[in-house]
Symmetry: C2
Subunit: 332 residues, 2 copies
Amino acid sequence: MARRPAVVTIADVAARAGVSLSTVSRALNGNPTVDPALAERVRAAAAELDYTANPWARSLVSGRTQTIAVVVPDLANPTFQTILRGLGRAAAADDFHVLVSDSAESVDAERTLATTTRRRTDGVILCAPRMPQPDLDALAATLTPLVLVNRTSPDVASVRADYGAALRAQLDDLHRLGHRRILHLSGAPGSASGAQRAKALDAFTAAHPEVDLRRLPCGVDADAGAAAADAVLDSGATAALAFNDLVAVGLLDAVRRRGCRVPDDLSIVGFDDIPFARFTTPALTTAAVPAEELGRAAWVRMRALLSGEAPPPSLTLVPETVVRATTGPPPS
Amino acid sequence: MARRPAVVTIADVAARAGVSLSTVSRALNGNPTVDPALAERVRAAAAELDYTANPWARSLVSGRTQTIAVVVPDLANPTFQTILRGLGRAAAADDFHVLVSDSAESVDAERTLATTTRRRTDGVILCAPRMPQPDLDALAATLTPLVLVNRTSPDVASVRADYGAALRAQLDDLHRLGHRRILHLSGAPGSASGAQRAKALDAFTAAHPEVDLRRLPCGVDADAGAAAADAVLDSGATAALAFNDLVAVGLLDAVRRRGCRVPDDLSIVGFDDIPFARFTTPALTTAAVPAEELGRAAWVRMRALLSGEAPPPSLTLVPETVVRATTGPPPS
DNA sequence: CTGTTAGCGCGTTCAC
DNA sequence: GTGAACGCGCTAACAG
């Protein structure tokens, strides 16, 4: 049984202003074909009654909700938090609301959530780093408007960071410092950025046969980084590149507890530049993924899509290397 | 002009199953007065057509949206992120959606957002740490169902951490260690938890006249903590209690850069136990606010409210002190 | 320029 | 047990 809250409807406003429903609707929606005097009277009545159009009724007829859906794998990940924040604030500035869902790292949930939340919103912005490409393409075909974050699919608007380019820069920096035994903590298998990075790794190996560049499968959080500490130390590598800052932080802490000096004994490089990267000891060298900017850019594309315009071209930002204090020359 | 996407409606299902609209509606809503065989036929038809009821039409008639609104001051704050995560996952488990808004630390925006998002959802969960109590009470009177996080108001469901009790415990620990000159970095003025803490500070001062306990106004983020470093060092205090871990982290980093040894020269205590607190150097002593649990508990109360039940009593969790390595005896 | 009318897609009384 | 009809609150055609 519906609790029907006693709210004021357009009929109340019409009665108070002494006009018809349509006039109220037109006046409040800024339709220019209304007599300015009447429009003013309507606005006054609406204000006195504290009237706001029922969003569901409005959506039912207009097909629009002023709301977008955002799907992320895990709200505990600083990068997604930051993307969400940038996105949310940008959308709010355009009077749009944001429906978030956290897929708990489940690709199935991502697919389901994207579809179900689409039904209650005007479009979806999807972060699905580990969804297989064919699945993503198939999903994208059924989902519009859609903006992808850190993924691409044919004819789909997207914004992404160039993980490959940034990794290349990090490798070059390490090489320039003299490192010849480098370990890459590769994160969970199957991620899209992981593929970009694998390519960069391959290219680097081809270009620098003198470098022993190995990969170590690994998780994506601080615990995973800590768990990898022994393997990293045993590997004899002089530098470790972490999948992200969380992994780097966990690794840094764990190796230091084992008496390893960073960067004297081991250089550590993160990825993302989360807010805390500045505050590790030593401060973490990393690549700054402009997550807030990605969020804003995703909104800009969604907004264009919603107004039927062609969205700005897909955006690729290359994370800038920020050298702090966890990197240095290899031990001699 | 409404883009009317070609979606299947209840009428399509009815036609396919060879029954009336009402039967489809009843069958799909589990109304027991439908012939089981018919119900099955309807479900089959719905499945084949991949039918889902239009949520806006459903909301329009039922008055329910399966969505709740969450308003937070800043999505960049780890505590709110964690609350949101716990809340979101709990709500999702009950098939509810979450509409988030970030007020950008503006009390005005909090008020507005709470009201406007209420109209598109079934209830709101409000984190408004700095809204003056009279304003909060007034807002609460117009907003139902409502669950407050870290605030209370007469007859309003709420979940909170007991900042006073936790601060008391921290002060006792410091006193037991021998500290007699203690500085409290009090955060932005006007926050509710700030008031609780002020009381705890007053009580401690009354009970321990031998202790020089001072307060230093301060912001709520790492930059604020860093900015307070000189003042803290000049004060001659042997221990500093930060408003939250962000402030503590900023302070810790800044004093160490100035050559101050922590905890030998200065003990630092945080508040919240954000994920990163384990990874500072030294690891941060703090009070663990169970943010994820608060989020879950907020949802449990909202769910009760939504089903017309009396919500569980207001919850007050006392953050547990977690002693790590930034605290020790004062310098002798 | 304004009022009347007809849906938007669904849940839910009512009769049958 | 099932179907027809109404109405949720609003916008957009259509007259006037």
